[in-house]
C-alpha cells in the first residue's frame, strides 16, 4: 500500500517510503515552491525543516533514506519577510476498511471563500459578504487552515478534501496582532485542532517578535483561550468598539 508519512516540524528529518507516489498531487495548494525557499527565515530551526522538506521533494526520493537537514541559503538583509508557506499532516487516521483520513495543517495557501462560508454556516455564524471575506483573507498577516483529506483504500482518485478549520491574524508585522475568526467544524471539535491552530499562530507571531497578541472571545470560549495562555482584560486592558451614533 502506498503511504506517505510526514513528520511534524519538531523532527527535522523526512522519511519517505515507497517513492512511486507523486508528492505534488498530495499538496492541496499549488504553491510556488521556490517562493518557500527564497524567503527562508533567519530562525534556523523552523527554516531548516522547511528547506529540507521542499528540497527533498525536489531532489527526488530515495527509498528508506533519512534526508539530512539542509542549511537554508543565507539571505541578504531582507527586511520584509513574509510568513512562509507551510503544510504538514497533523493527524492521520486509518480506518478498518483501509480508508485513511489526514488532517492537514496549512498556512499561506489559498482558501476557497465558498468553502469558508459553508464552514461559517456550520458553526452558526452570521453571513458576511463574500467579497469582504475574500479581501479580509487576502490582507491578513497569516491564515492557518485545517483540511480533512479522506482517501478511500485502493485508487487515489477518490480523495475528498474538506475545509474543517481556520484561524487568521491581522498584524502590523512588528508589534501588534489580533486573532480573528477562529473556527473548527463541529464534527471535528474536541480533538485539539483549535488548540493546534492557535498555537501555530502564536508561535509564528512570537518568532517574529510580535508580542502584543490580542483576540476578542465570545463568552463560551473564554476558558478555551485561558487554557492556551490568554488572559482576559490583563492589567485593565480592554477592547472597545466603535458605534456610529
Amino acid at each position: 500500500m502506498r503511504s506517505l508519512h510526514l513528520l511534524a516540524p519538531s523532527s527535522f528529518s523526512l522519511v519517505l517510503f515507497d517513492c512511486q507516489c507523486q508528492i505534488s498531487s498530495h499538496l492541496l495548494f499549488p504553491h510556488n515552491l521556490n517562493n518557500g525557499i527564497a524567503r527562508a527565515s533567519r530562525k534556523l530551526k523552523i527554516s531548516q525543516f522547511k528547506a529540507s522538506f521542499w528540497e527533498s521533494i525536489r531532489s527526488g526520493f530515495v527509498k528508506n533514506n533519512m534526508t539530512r537537514v539542509i542549511e537554508p541559503p543565507s539571505l541578504p538583509d531582507e527586511e520584509e519577510e513574509e510568513p512562509l508557506l507551510e503544510e504538514f499532516v497533523l493527524v492521520e487516521k486509518t480506518e478498518p476498511d483501509g480508508a485513511t483520513e489526514q488532517i492537514i495543517f496549512s498556512t499561506g495557501g489559498d482558501i476557497n471563500v465558498y468553502d469558508l462560508q459553508a464552514l461559517c454556516d456550520k458553526v452558526g455564524w452570521p453571513r458576511r459578504p463574500l467579497s469582504k471575506l475574500a479581501a479580509a483573507l487576502k490582507n491578513s498577516y497569516m491564515v492557518a487552515t485545517l483540511h480533512s483529506v479522506r482517501k478511500s483504500s485502493g485508487s487515489e482518485e477518490n480523495d475528498q478534501k474538506m475545509l474543517i478549520g481556520m484561524a487568521r491574524a491581522t498584524s502590523d508585522h512588528a508589534f501588534n496582532a489580533t486573532i480573528w475568526d477562529v473556527l473548527v467544524d463541529p464534527g471535528y471539535q474536541g480533538q485539539g485542532l483549535g488548540k493546534a491552530l492557535i498555537e501555530k499562530l502564536i508561535r509564528a507571531l512570537l518568532q517574529k517578535d510580535i508580542g502584543n497578541i490580542t483576540l476578542f472571545a465570545d463568552s463560551q470560549v473564554v476558558e478555551f483561550y485561558q487554557n492556551l495562555g490568554f488572559e482576559p482584560d490583563p492589567e485593565g486592558i480592554k477592547g472597545m468598539f466603535w458605534y456610529p451614533k
Binding site: 508519512h5 513528520l7 511534524a8 519538531s10 520584509e80 499532516v89 497533523l90 493527524v91 492521520e92 487516521k93 486509518t94 480506518e95 478498518p96 469582504k132 479581501a135 479580509a136 487576502k138 490582507n139 491581522t170 498584524s171 502590523d172 508585522h173 512588528a174 508589534f175 501588534n176 489580533t178 480573528w180 498555537e199 508561535r203 512570537l206 518568532q207 517578535d209 508580542g211 497578541i213 490580542t214 483576540l215 476578542f216 472571545a217 465570545d218 463568552s219 473564554v222 485561558q226 492556551l228 495562555g229 490568554f230 488572559e231 482576559p232 482584560d233 490583563p234 492589567e235 485593565g236 486592558i237 480592554k238 477592547g239 472597545m240 468598539f241 466603535w242 458605534y243 456610529p244 451614533k245
Partner: protein
C-alpha cells in the same frame, strides 16, 4: 494601502478652562496641520513622540517607580515596518513655537502681537512643523480594523487633537465600508475612546491577550520571547501525531 491621503490645516482653540483663579481667561487659536499621508511621518520624530507621550509599542512595558516607560527607544527599523503595514496613518503637526508656549503658559499669551502676526501667516506644514499627534490603524481591508498608538504631546492635550485623529481614522475606514473598528486601550485611555464614540462590545466579547510566561506555565522545556517586561512563552511544536489508528466500528 492605496488611499487618497489628505492633508489639511485646522485651527484649534486652546482650552478655556482656567488653570488658576487669577489667570485671564483668554482663548488663543493655534494652527495645526493634520495629514493622512504616510510620507509625512518621520520615524525618528515619531520615536521621540512616543517618549514624550510616555507611550510604548509594547502593551506591558517596563515602568519605573513613577510609572514612566523605562525601556530603550523603539527600534527604528521595526517602527518603519509597523508603519508600512498600517493601513492608516494620521499625523498632526504644529508650529514649534506653539508647542512650547502653550506648555509654559497655558492660556496666557507671552506676546500677543507676535502671536497675532504668526497666526496671520500660518506656515505650519509637515516640513517645518513639529509632530505633535499621531494615530494609526491596522486593517484587513475587508471586515475589521484595530486602532493603535493614538498619542498627543502632553502640552497640547485636552484640545481635541486626539479626538480629531480618531475621527479621521474612523472616517477613512467607514469610507471603505469597514465598520468593525476596535481600539485596544488601557484603563486610562478608556474615557478618551468613550468620548470618541467607542463602547464595550455589544456581543459582550472578552478582550484577551497572550500573557503566558514561564511562571504561569507548567511546561518543562520552553522557548521565550521578550515583549516589554513580559517574557512570553512560545508554544512548542506539536509532537509527532501521525499514524493514529482508529478502529471505527
Amino acid at each position: 494601502m492605496a488611499t487618497a491621503a489628505s492633508a489639511e490645516m485646522k485651527w484649534l482653540t486652546t482650552p478655556t478652562r482656567r488653570r488658576r483663579p487669577d489667570q485671564i481667561d483668554k482663548k488663543s487659536r493655534i494652527p495645526i496641520y493634520i495629514s493622512t499621508n504616510p510620507v509625512h511621518v518621520n520615524p525618528q520624530d515619531l520615536r521621540e513622540l512616543y517618549s514624550t507621550c510616555n507611550h510604548s509599542c509594547h502593551r506591558f512595558p517596563r515602568l519605573d517607580q513613577l510609572g514612566r516607560v523605562e525601556e530603550e527607544p523603539v527600534d527604528l527599523k521595526r517602527l518603519q515596518i509597523a508603519l508600512s503595514h498600517s493601513s492608516i496613518l494620521v499625523s498632526v503637526f504644529c508650529n514649534p513655537h506653539h508647542v512650547t508656549t502653550t506648555a509654559i503658559n497655558g492660556n496666557q499669551r507671552m506676546n500677543p502681537m507676535a502671536d497675532f502676526v504668526q497666526n496671520l501667516f500660518p506656515l505650519v506644514s509637515p516640513t517645518n512643523g513639529s509632530l505633535v499627534g499621531f494615530g494609526r490603524a491596522v486593517s484587513d481591508l475587508g471586515l475589521t480594523a484595530s486602532i493603535y498608538d493614538v498619542m498627543v504631546t502632553p502640552s497640547l492635550q485636552r484640545m481635541g487633537i486626539g479626538r480629531m485623529i480618531v475621527q479621521r481614522i474612523i472616517r477613512m475606514l467607514t469610507s471603505r465600508e469597514i465598520y468593525d473598528i476596535a481600539a485596544i486601550c488601557s484603563e486610562n485611555e478608556r474615557l478618551f475612546f468613550k468620548s470618541c464614540g467607542f463602547g464595550d462590545d455589544t456581543l459582550s466579547s472578552t478582550t484577551m491577550m497572550y500573557t503566558r510566561t514561564i511562571s504561569t506555565c507548567h511546561q518543562n522545556d520552553w522557548n521565550v520571547k521578550q515583549a516589554g517586561r513580559k517574557l512570553l512563552l512560545i508554544p512548542p511544536c506539536p509532537a509527532s501525531r501521525t499514524s493514529v489508528k482508529t478502529n471505527k466500528s
